[in-house]
């Protein structure tokens, strides 16, 4: 199968004001491809260009140079704009600012209504999408009375109702409390594992990225690292160089290595794995 998202030497520079010096490119010569069914986390600290990258996936921005292909469609081609957005749905940071209607199910129905589907089909998709995020019980509720995590799950359902092939999420958990974050992460993981949904998750939380199948690290608009989470997070020095703290488990093992010269592998991403590694080390 061809990749769902493909970037070929993509750069993007934000337009600058008259007479001002040109700003450095927000995304600098990035090439990558995302295969169907993958769960890719894009990591980077503030200003690393990760949010700009997300906007390029959805034709909200078009690259200054290079090409973005969504399921083979070039985002520069305005006649395909609808199909592009239908293929790669987008979830934003603030759940409040992406919910349109005063009733949950009406909001989830927004995209299929715009697609001009018959009302029976809309009903089917709304019910399916709400079930997929576990919010069926709330379909007649007013969104402003829901918690942050619930609102974000409604926003995800709103995108699912388009039946996209991939979902791009731009820091969907950044404005949520820990409970809400866990709730949204569970939903994302389930969508990826059970429904085979391709997910691109933009985040600056290590523990969220650790749950993905593949991690891309951005720094100053460039793609710095690309690989499996265990592989990426063991490169402690590179992570620190782009102001990212490695996951706590890896940080602990790294500290043991430095202070005691223990020579432990830095691949433990869960607390259990980490405990195992230390246990074996202590046993001899």
């Amino acid at each position: 199968m061809p990749p769902i998202i493909e970037l070929k030497n993509v750069s993007f520079t934000y337009p600058h004001g008259e007479g001002k010096p040109e700003s450095p490119p927000a995304v600098d010569n990035v090439s990558l491809s995302v295969e169907p069914g993958e769960f890719v986390a894009v990591l980077g600290h503030n200003g690393s260009g990760k949010s700009t990258l997300a906007k390029l996936f959805n034709a909200i921005l078009t690259p200054t140079s290079g090409d973005v292909l969504i399921d083979g469609m070039n985002t520069r081609d305005e006649s395909r704009l609808f199909d592009i957005r239908k293929t790669a749905g987008m979830v934003f940071q603030n759940p409040d600012n992406q919910i349109v209607a005063t009733v949950v199910e009406e909001d989830v129905a927004f995209a299929p209504e715009n697609m001009g589907l018959p009302s029976k089909e809309i009903r089917r998709r709304v019910d399916e999408a709400l079930a997929a995020v576990g919010m069926s019980a709330f379909k007649r509720h007013a969104p402003h009375l829901l918690s942050g995590g619930q609102k974000q799950r409604i926003a995800i359902a709103g995108v699912l109702a388009m039946q996209p092939r991939a979902i791009v999420m731009d820091e969907p958990t950044a404005m949520l409390d820990p409970m809400g974050r866990a709730e949204v992460m569970r939903t994302i993981l389930r969508l990826n594992r059970e429904n085979g949904m391709t997910v691109v998750l933009i985040t600056h939380h290590m523990d969220e990225a650790a749950q993905a199948g593949r991690v891309i690290v951005m720094n100053h608009g460039r793609m710095l690292l690309d690989g499996a989470p265990a592989e990426i997070f063991s490169q402690v020095d590179e992570l620190r160089a782009c102001s990212l703290a490695p996951p706590q488990t890896v940080a602990l093992l790294d500290r043991l290595n430095r202070d005691l010269n223990a020579g432990l592998p830095l691949t433990a991403l869960s607390v259990e794995q980490c405990a195992d590694v230390i246990y074996h080390y202590l046993k001899g």
Partner: protein, 267 residues
């Protein structure tokens, strides 16, 4: 505390009044208002009142709630009553300074007041029994012909929906900003009216800024969900005209006709 306001004052229910097609309900209210203004004479008024009472009874909305709807217009009601009582020429009952109470005046005042009360009550009944979304859908449909004259009907109703959606969000935000300002020593409660209004400026500025930011983000999110105006848009809940609606429509028409007959031929 501000979070508890009910949106558009809608009380969900399953009564026939609730289940009427919202388009029909809007038309029924219009017809009823026309009937009210055509009504003349005690019997016509009594008939109008019993129609309204029947609808309120059917809707199961508590009469107390209906009366609450009158509160904001209490001043207008009193004003109308006084003006009509003292400034209608006719048989003088009582006279003092510039006030002349006439028998016709008292009748006029009673008619006018009951007309206003019934008018407010029937519109209140509409918003109490119809969800804001159904109401905007109905308006979009009924104003549909204006699209031919290039009136942006869809955009107008979309604006209404979004406004309704964001009222609680913005109220919450106002609450937050006010708390933040209070924490830094702002005083919203003391001083005269002008001082209090001035104290609100530091609340309104950040509120406006954030409202614009929200609008921008919402517009992007809507575009990402394929919004492209009203053209080719379908609805999750299509409005449909049922047998109940036909019955309601016919009954309303009959009642309006009855008001005409009572007012102009019977008396």
């Amino acid at each position: 505390m501000l979070k508890d306001i009910t949106l558009g004052q809608y009380f969900p229910g399953q009564s026939p009044i609730h289940r009427f097609d919202p388009r029909l309900k809007v038309l029924m209210v219009v017809a009823y208002i026309v009937a009210l203004f055509c009504a003349d004479g005690l019997w016509a008024y009594l008939f109008c009142f019993s129609m309204l009472a029947l609808c309120i009874g059917l809707s199961r909305i508590r009469p107390k709630m209906m009366l609450r709807g009158l509160k904001p217009v209490l001043f207008i009601i009193c004003f109308t009553a006084v003006l009509n009582m003292f400034y209608t020429p006719g048989v003088v009952l009582w006279h003092w300074w510039i006030f002349t109470l006439t028998r016709e005046g008292i009748f006029n005042a009673l008619y006018m007041v009951s007309r206003i009360v019934m008018l407010i009550m029937c519109t209140a009944l509409l918003t109490y029994t119809t969800s804001p979304i159904a109401l905007t859908d109905a308006l979009e449909y009924l104003l549909g012909p204006l699209k031919k004259l290039r009136v942006p009907v869809h955009e107008f109703t979309m604006m209404m929906t979004i406004a309704l959606r964001f009222i609680p969000t913005l109220i919450e935000e106002t609450d937050k900003i006010m708390s933040a300002q209070k924490a830094r020593g702002a005083d919203f409660e003391s001083g005269n009216l002008i001082a209090r209004a001035k104290a609100l400026v530091p609340v309104l500025v950040p509120l406006f800024v954030s409202a614009f930011r929200r609008a921008d983000e919402l517009a992007t999110a809507m575009e990402c969900r394929l919004y492209h105006g009203g053209e080719g848009r379908t609805r999750l809940n299509e409005l449909h005209f049922a047998r109940l609606d036909l019955l309601g429509g016919v009954l309303t028409a009959a009642c309006v006709a009855a008001v005409f007959v009572i007012s102009h031929f019977w008396a």
